[in-house]
Structures are given as structure tokens and as C-alpha cells.
């Protein structure tokens, strides 16, 4: 086993990293966060152990980049105020995912992180717990609470 060409890493994981970035920093800054994540990953890639779990590694980088961003912005929760006017978000189809990002952004940080890393990035709870430096039962509880809260804020008719 050896590392795949980095192009394969981008092809395999660009979508999930974009989802994670949207959920962590909001749709407005997600593209910049994606770029920072993949550039940092490319820099470190030759030193990565060839048996590494690449999706987990990328999501961890995205997580750190998001924290840097949020600290730099010196405010929480995630800024979403300018969203509806962002021209890059114009889509021909009615974009209900916008409501989703708002709802996720409004979750408390612990719940948001747990939901994003377990349900969106599809990482096992054990790894999410490690990333967040918390114990596994706490992360499970936060994810369940987060999902319950989303359930109340996202309307049933939004589901395709």
C-alpha cells in the first residue's frame, strides 16, 4: 500500500470537505475554507503515513482551519448575516440547503461539531471524540441533541 496521487484524494473527498466547511464556517466562507484545507493537506501530504485514514485526516485539517477562522473573526456563533445577498448562492433550483446551513449554524458549538463530524463527514464517534478532545458518550449525546434540534427547525416538507 502506498499513498494515492493527490489528485485522487481531491476527487474522492472534495465534496465531503465542502459540506464540512459549509457547516463549520457557513456557505459564505466555505470555499475559502475548502481551499485552505486542501492547500494545507497538499503541503503535508508527502509526510502522511501511507496507512492513514485520509477522510479523517482531511476533516481534522478542515476543523483546525475553521477554528483559526472563527478565532480570527473573534465572534461566535458563525456569521451568517449576509447570506441571502450572496450572488454565489444563486441557484436555479429553490435552495433549501440554505435553511439547513442556518439551522446547523445556530446549534451550540458542541452539538454542531458532533453533528458535522459524525453525520456529515461520516467519521466514527471515537475519532470525533478525539478531534474534539471529549469523551465518546458526551459526543454521542451532543450529536443526538443536535439532530433533535435540527428536527424542530427544518420543516418536514423540505425533505426531498
Amino acid at each position: 500500500m502506498s499513498l494515492p496521487p493527490f489528485e485522487q484524494v481531491v476527487l474522492d473527498h472534495s465534496q465531503v470537505v465542502l459540506h464540512v466547511c459549509r457547516a463549520l464556517v457557513g456557505p459564505h466562507d466555505a470555499e475559502d475554507a475548502w481551499s485552505e484545507t486542501f492547500l494545507a493537506a497538499l503541503t503535508a501530504y508527502p509526510r502522511l503515513r501511507d496507512d492513514s485514514y485520509i477522510r479523517g485526516w482531511l476533516v481534522t485539517i478542515a476543523h483546525r482551519k475553521a477554528i483559526d477562522r472563527l478565532r480570527a473573526a473573534q465572534r461566535a456563533p458563525i456569521p451568517i448575516g449576509t447570506l441571502p445577498n450572496d450572488p454565489s448562492l444563486d441557484r436555479s433550483a429553490p435552495d433549501r440547503s440554505l435553511d439547513l446551513w442556518h439551522s446547523i449554524a445556530e446549534l451550540p458549538v458542541a452539538q454542531r461539531s458532533a453533528v458535522v463530524y459524525h453525520y456529515i463527514a461520516d467519521l466514527p464517534y471515537a475519532q470525533v471524540a478525539k478531534m474534539l478532545d471529549r469523551n465518546e458518550p458526551a459526543v454521542r449525546r451532543a450529536a443526538a441533541d443536535g439532530i433533535a434540534k435540527l428536527r424542530t427547525t427544518i420543516r418536514r416538507e423540505d425533505i426531498p
Binding site: F6, V10, I159
Partner: protein, 202 residues
């Protein structure tokens, strides 16, 4: 929303193809600016099949025929040059222009910076002699062996040609057997024949 499954469906409602393409292009540009684009590659349709072209910051490092298997070639580049391999066509623009001019019979010599790091020792010496064979002419494996100062190394010349990382540009297709038969070619015999015919045409 009732289940995490619904969450995934909501996420996948949006088609991000255009966004992801744009982000990919941005990544390759930033990588080049920050000296992180160790290997850039693209594909090119030609009369001898779709070629994979790859370049390092030094120069063209690999030209590969379909029969070699693109995945295999990318893996080879990853292991022997660097895992920082990205689909990044811009760096290959000069090579594309010259190869297209060659097939249009507007160009007889390639004038591209080459990176010969995939060839070592005697094989590399052989490749350096191949560029002396003029367009439209051929040389024998034995002649090249003599030119390298190793007249007995005819077989080694053959394997140097067979493993040429830059076929077409380093013209191993111009090397044939002493009895006039074509010998082998990494791109297949049809490709070798086509190239020799192209160059022989008046």
C-alpha cells in the same frame, strides 16, 4: 427532518459540480504559486491515442501511451517523483503546442525542457543519444550502442528504448533492428509505424 438520512439527502440536493471544478482549478494555481505542484498532468488526444503528459517544475517528465495504463503511470509518478500529483493542464501548454505541431507536420524537433529523472545510468545515456537521430531517419540498436561507447550493449539499448519515460519527444521510435524490422515499442507497433510513416512522408 426525521433522521440523519434526511440530513444527507438535504446536503446532496445541491449540485456542486461547477463549484468543485472551480475550487480544483484554484487549488492547482495556488499549488503552482507555492511550489507545491511537484507533478502536473493532463491528457492529449493524438493520432497514436490519448497520451498522458506529466511535467515537474524542471520540465516534461513523462509521456505515456494508453496501453501503459494511466492509473499505473500516475502511481509510478507518485512513488518515484512525488505524491503531490495534480491534474493541472496549464503547465503542459508548451508540450501540447509542440506535439500538436509535430502531428500536423509543422515541427520536426521538440524544443521543450525535459526532466529525465525517471531514467538512470546507462539508460539515461542512451536517451541522450536518441535525440541525435534526425527527423525522418532511423538508426539501429547496434548503432546507438556504438555511439554510447558500448558496442556490445545492443540489448541494453533495446531495454532503454522500451522504458523511455518520454517516448515521442525522445525519439526511440526511430531506433530499429539491424535487419530492418521495427523492433518493439512501448506504444505498440501500430504507433511506431504511424510515427515513422508520418516522418517519412514527403
Amino acid at each position: 427532518m426525521t433522521t440523519p438520512e434526511d440530513l444527507r439527502n438535504l446536503l446532496n440536493q445541491q449540485d456542486d459540480t461547477a463549484t468543485l471544478n472551480r475550487l480544483h482549478t484554484r487549488l492547482t494555481k495556488q499549488a503552482a504559486t507555492e511550489n507545491l505542484l511537484d507533478v502536473a498532468y493532463r491528457m492529449l488526444d493524438t493520432p497514436v491515442g490519448t497520451l498522458l503528459l506529466a511535467a515537474t517544475p524542471i520540465g516534461l517528465v513523462r509521456v505515456a501511451f494508453p496501453v501503459e495504463g494511466y492509473d499505473h503511470v500516475l502511481t509510478q509518478l507518485t512513488e518515484r517523483v512525488s505524491p503531490r500529483v495534480l491534474f493541472a493542464p496549464a503547465r503542459l501548454d508548451p508540450a501540447v503546442r509542440e506535439i500538436e505541431a509535430y502531428f500536423a507536420r509543422h515541427r520536426q524537433r521538440f524544443d521543450l525542457p525535459l526532466d529525465l529523472q525517471l531514467a538512470h545510468g546507462f539508460r539515461r545515456t542512451v536517451l541522450e543519444h536518441l535525440s541525435d537521430i534526425a527527423y525522418g531517419t532511423t538508426a539501429t540498436y547496434a548503432t546507438i550502442a556504438t555511439a554510447t561507447g558500448n558496442p556490445k550493449a545492443v540489448r541494453a539499448v533495446g531495454s532503454a528504448c522500451a522504458t523511455n519515460p518520454l517516448p515521442l519527444v525522445v525519439p526511440c521510435h526511430r531506433v530499429i533492428r539491424s535487419d530492418g524490422s521495427l523492433g518493439g515499442y512501448a506504444g505498440g507497433m501500430d504507433a511506431k509505424q504511424l510515427l515513422l510513416h508520418l516522418e517519412a512522408a514527403p
